[in-house]
C-alpha cells in the first residue's frame, strides 16, 4: 500500500521542519606551515567547531635536516658545527652536552677555565633565548611593544657572545677537551694565550645590569598588565602528572610546579660552585610559563655575575690528540637547555666518526603535549598556549 501525503499534513510537516537544527559540520582548519604563530613550519590540522578546537593533529617534519644521519658520516670536530643549528636560538647550549659526551668517552676533562667559559656562554645563551620568548610571546597575544624592549637588550648579550665566539647564532666554539682559542691568538703562538676579548668581563657586568633592568620593565609592561593576565591566567593548564607523562621538560615543566633542573642534577658544568635558585610555577598555566622564564633570566644574570667573579686562570684546552679517535663505547649526556632537556647518546665503534648519535631534543617532547592540551580550547587560546610552550621547529625536527 502506498501512502499519499495529505496536503494539510504536508503543510504541518513543513512547519515541523523549521525546528530541525541547522547542521553545522566541523571545519578542518589548516594552521601552518605558513602561519605567523607556528614558530617556523609547524602544521596543525585542527578540527574546529566555530572558534572551538575539537582536536588538533600536529604535522611535523618540514624542517627535517637529518642531523642524526649526517653525524654518522662526519668527524667529531665537524659535528659541533652541525648541532648548534638544531635549536638555533640557543646554539651554544646545543654543543656543550655533545662535546662532554665525547670527552667522557675519551676519558678527558676540560680545564676549569674552559668549563667556566662554557657556563658563562651557556647562561648568556639562555638569557638570549628567553628574551626572544619575552618578545615573541606578547606579540602573539597582540602586544608588539615588549618585542622591541627585549630585543634591544638581547643585542648586548648577542654582541658579547659574538665577541667571544665570532658567531651570533652558530658559535661552533666548543672543542673536545675545551673551547676554541679566540680569534687572533691562541694555539699557533704558544706564549700568548688570548682567550676572552679584552673588556669582556666589564662588558658582561654592564650587559647583565641592563638585562635586569629590562626584566623590571617587562614585569610592569607585561606581567603586570591586566589584559595580559586575562589572556594567560588559567589558560592551558598542564598538571604536573601530565607534564611528566608527556616528557615535558625545562621551564614548561617547572611552571607546572615540578622543580626539576638538570643544572642541579647533572654535574657537567661547574654549577655546584654557584648559588642560584630554580624558579617554580604554581598553576602550570601560560602566565606561569611566562613568569618562570622571566625569573630564569634573573637567575641567569646572577649566575653569570658569580661565574665572571670566580673564573680561574689557566689553559683553554686539555691535552687532546691531534687526530681525534674515540674508543669504543657509548655515552649519554644531557643538559638543561633554555628549551628543556637536551641529550646526546653517542655510540662509538672506535675511530674518527661516531657510529650513531641519537639526539633528544626538548622541543619535540614539549610539542607532543599539544593534541592533549589544545583539545577543547578556543583558537585565540590555541595561539597563546602554543606560544607559551616556546618550541623551535629546528629543535623538533632536527
Amino acid at each position: 500500500m502506498t501512502t499519499r501525503l495529505d496536503p494539510t499534513v504536508a503543510m504541518h510537516l513543513s512547519d515541523a521542519a523549521v525546528s530541525v537544527e541547522l547542521e553545522t559540520p566541523e571545519m578542518t582548519l589548516n594552521i601552518g606551515p605558513q602561519h605567523p604563530s607556528t614558530h617556523g613550519v609547524l602544521r596543525l590540522v585542527a578540527k574546529v567547531d566555530g572558534e572551538r578546537v575539537d582536536s588538533v593533529e600536529p604535522v611535523i617534519g618540514y624542517m627535517h635536516r637529518g642531523y642524526e644521519k649526517l653525524a654518522e658520516v662526519r668527524t667529531y670536530a665537524q659535528i659541533t658545527a652541525l648541532i648548534n643549528r638544531i635549536d638555533w636560538v640557543s646554539g651554544f647550549c646545543n654543543e656543550v652536552p655533545f662535546v662532554i659526551a665525547v670527552e667522557r668517552l675519551m676519558g678527558i676533562e676540560a680545564p676549569e677555565r674552559a668549563q667556566y667559559i662554557r657556563l658563562i656562554l651557556a647562561e648568556m645563551t639562555r638569557i638570549s633565548s628567553h628574551l626572544l620568548f619575552m618578545s615573541s610571546y606578547p606579540l602573539e597575544l597582540g602586544a608588539p611593544t615588549p618585542l622591541m624592549y627585549a630585543l634591544r637588550e638581547r643585542e648586548h648579550v648577542m654582541d658579547l657572545i659574538e665577541g667571544v665566539t665570532g658567531g651570533r647564532f652558530h658559535p661552533n666554539f666548543n672543542r673536545v677537551g675545551g673551547v676554541k682559542p679566540a680569534a687572533g691568538g691562541g694555539s699557533s703562538t704558544k706564549k700568548v694565550v688570548q682567550d676572552l676579548p679584552s673588556g669582556f668581563f666589564d662588558g658582561t657586568r654592564r650587559a647583565m645590569d641592563r638585562v635586569d633592568l629590562v626584566c623590571d620593565e617587562l614585569d610592569t609592561l607585561v606581567t603586570g598588565n591586566e589584559l595580559f593576565r586575562a589572556r594567560t591566567v588559567g589558560v592551558g593548564i598542564i598538571p604536573p602528572d601530565k607534564a611528566l607523562a608527556y616528557g615535558v621538560s625545562g621551564p614548561n615543566l617547572r611552571a607546572s610546579g615540578v622543580g626539576f633542573d638538570l643544572r642541579k642534577h647533572e654535574h657537567i658544568l661547574p654549577y655546584d660552585d654557584i648559588e642560584f635558585e630554580i624558579p617554580v610555577g604554581r598553576n602550570g598555566d601560560c602566565f606561569d610559563r611566562f613568569v618562570v622564564r622571566l625569573q630564569e633570566i634573573r637567575q641567569a644574570t646572577r649566575i653569570v655575575r658569580q661565574a665572571v667573579d670566580r673564573i680561574p686562570a689557566g689553559p683553554l684546552q686539555a691535552k687532546v690528540p691531534r687526530i681525534l679517535k674515540v674508543p669504543q663505547g657509548q655515552c649519554y649526556v644531557r643538559a638543561e637547555n633554555p628549551k628543556g632537556e637536551m641529550g646526546y647518546f653517542v655510540v662509538s665503534e672506535g675511530g674518527r666518526i661516531p657510529y650513531r648519535v641519537k639526539i633528544r631534543s626538548a622541543s619535540f617532547s614539549n610539542l607532543s603535549i599539544l593534541p592533549w592540551i589544545l583539545a577543547g580550547q578556543l583558537i585565540p587560546d590555541l595561539v597563546a598556549i602554543m606560544g607559551s610552550l616556546d618550541f623551535v621547529l629546528g629543535d623538533v625536527d632536527r
Binding site: E51, L139, G142, A143, P144, Y149
Partner: protein
C-alpha cells in the same frame, strides 16, 4: 547654487580636504608615535623632514600592486566590499560640525544617522570575510559581526544619555547645548565630559575602539591568530581602501567623541556665537581629535588583544548595565537640574 553641483562640491570637500588629510595625518602619527614608544626612529626619509610623506609613499606603493582576486572568491562581492567600508566612513564626516556654520549637513537626527551608517562598515567587513573564499577570512568576518552586536548597544545607550542631557539629536545642537550648560540655574559652560557624562565618555571610547577593531579589540584582524582576518586576501588598491577606511574611521570616531563629550569646535571661554569661531573652531576640533587619536595609538602599542568571549563579557555584563545606569542617572540629573 545648483543643488547637484553643491552635492558634488560637498562630497569632494569632505572626502578630499577633510577625510584624506586627516587619515594621512593619523597614519603618520601612528608610525612616528609607535616608533618612539618602541625606542625606534620610525620613518625619516620620505619627504625630506621627519619622513612626513611616508603614508603617501605607502599608498602609492599599494596602488602599484596587483589587484588580486582569489579563484575561490565570490568576485563581485569581493570587489564591492572595500567600497562599502570606505563609504560608510565618509558618510560620518558629512555630519561632523567643524564650526557654527561649517557642517556639510547638520541633520536634525544627526546622532541617529551616525549610529546607522557607522554599523554599515561591518557589513562590508562581513562581505569581505565571506567572499574571500578563505577560512581565516570567514572567521574574521564572523568575529566582526559578533563584535558589532556586542559593542553597538553600549555605544547607542551611551549616546542616548548625551541626547537626553542636550535635548537634541543634532550634533551642532549638542555642541551649542554644551556651550550653554547650566547647573542649578548657574551658567557654568563646560563640556559634557565634566558635567555628568564621564562614564558615558569611557563607554563610548571603549565601544569605538571595538568598532574600529583596534587593539585591544582587533580580533577580526588578529594577525597572529587569523593571519589577517578579512584582510588576508586583499591586495593593492582594495587593501588601501580598507587601510584608509580604518584610519579615516579613527578620525571620524574621535571627532564624534570630541563633539559629544569634549565640546566639539567650542572651548570653554570662547563665545559660540562669534564669527571667528568658523576659523578657530576647526583648529580646536582637530586638536581634540589628535589628542584622542594619541590615546588610541597609545592603547594600540601597549596592550595585548582580548579574546572574543572576553569582549562579549565586557559588553554584556559591564558596559550595557553601566550605560543603562548612566541613562537613568542622566535623566534624574536632568529633572533635578
Amino acid at each position: 547654487m545648483n543643488f547637484w553641483l553643491l552635492v558634488v562640491v560637498k562630497v569632494l570637500v569632505v572626502a578630499g580636504a577633510v577625510m584624506l588629510p586627516g587619515a594621512l595625518l593619523v597614519i603618520f602619527g601612528e608610525l612616528k608615535i609607535s616608533a618612539h614608544m618602541q625606542s625606534r626612529i620610525g620613518p625619516y626619509f620620505a619627504g625630506g623632514r621627519f619622513g612626513w610623506a611616508q603614508p603617501l609613499a605607502d599608498g602609492l606603493k599599494f596602488m602599484q600592486k596587483e589587484d588580486l582576486v582569489p579563484a575561490a572568491a565570490d568576485a563581485r562581492v569581493y570587489r564591492l566590499a572595500p567600497y562599502i567600508v570606505l563609504i560608510s566612513t565618509v558618510a560620518i564626516y558629512v555630519i561632523i560640525p567643524f564650526g557654527p556654520d561649517l557642517t556639510a549637513r547638520d541633520l536634525d537626527l544627526g546622532v541617529f544617522f551616525l549610529l546607522a551608517v557607522s554599523s554599515l562598515s561591518t557589513l562590508g567587513v562581513l562581505m569581505a570575510g565571506w567572499s574571500s573564499g578563505n577560512k581565516y577570512s570567514l572567521m574574521g568576518g564572523l568575529r566582526a559581526a559578533a563584535q558589532l552586536i556586542a559593542y553597538e548597544l553600549p555605544m547607542v545607550l551611551a549616546v542616548v544619555a548625551v541626547a537626553v542631557q542636550a535635548g537634541t539629536l543634532s550634533l551642532g545642537g549638542i555642541v551649542q547645548a554644551q556651550a550653554h550648560t547650566e547647573l542649578f540655574g548657574a551658567n557654568i559652560h563646560l563640556p559634557y565630559l565634566i558635567t555628568g557624562q564621564l562614564l558615558g565618555f569611557l563607554i563610548f571610547t571603549t565601544a569605538s575602539l571595538a568598532e574600529l577593531a583596534r587593539i585591544p579589540f582587533d580580533m577580526p584582524i588578529a594577525e597572529s591568530e587569523l593571519t589577517m582576518g578579512y584582510l588576508t586576501e586583499y591586495s593593492g588598491l582594495r587593501f588601501t581602501m580598507f587601510f584608509l577606511g580604518e584610519y579615516a574611521g579613527m578620525v571620524a570616531f574621535t571627532a564624534i567623541a570630541a563633539t559629544l563629550y569634549l565640546g566639539g569646535w567650542w572651548l570653554p571661554g570662547l563665545s559660540p556665537e562669534a564669527g571667528y569661531m568658523n576659523v578657530v573652531g576647526p583648529i580646536v576640533l582637530v586638536t581634540k581629535v589628535l589628542l584622542l587619536s594619541f590615546l588610541f595609538i597609545w592603547f594600540r602599542w601597549t596592550w595585548p588583544r582580548l579574546r572574543e568571549d572576553q569582549l562579549q563579557t565586557l559588553a554584556w555584563k559591564w558596559l550595557i548595565p553601566l550605560s543603562l545606569a548612566n541613562i537613568v542617572g542622566t535623566a534624574l540629573f536632568k529633572v533635578i537640574m
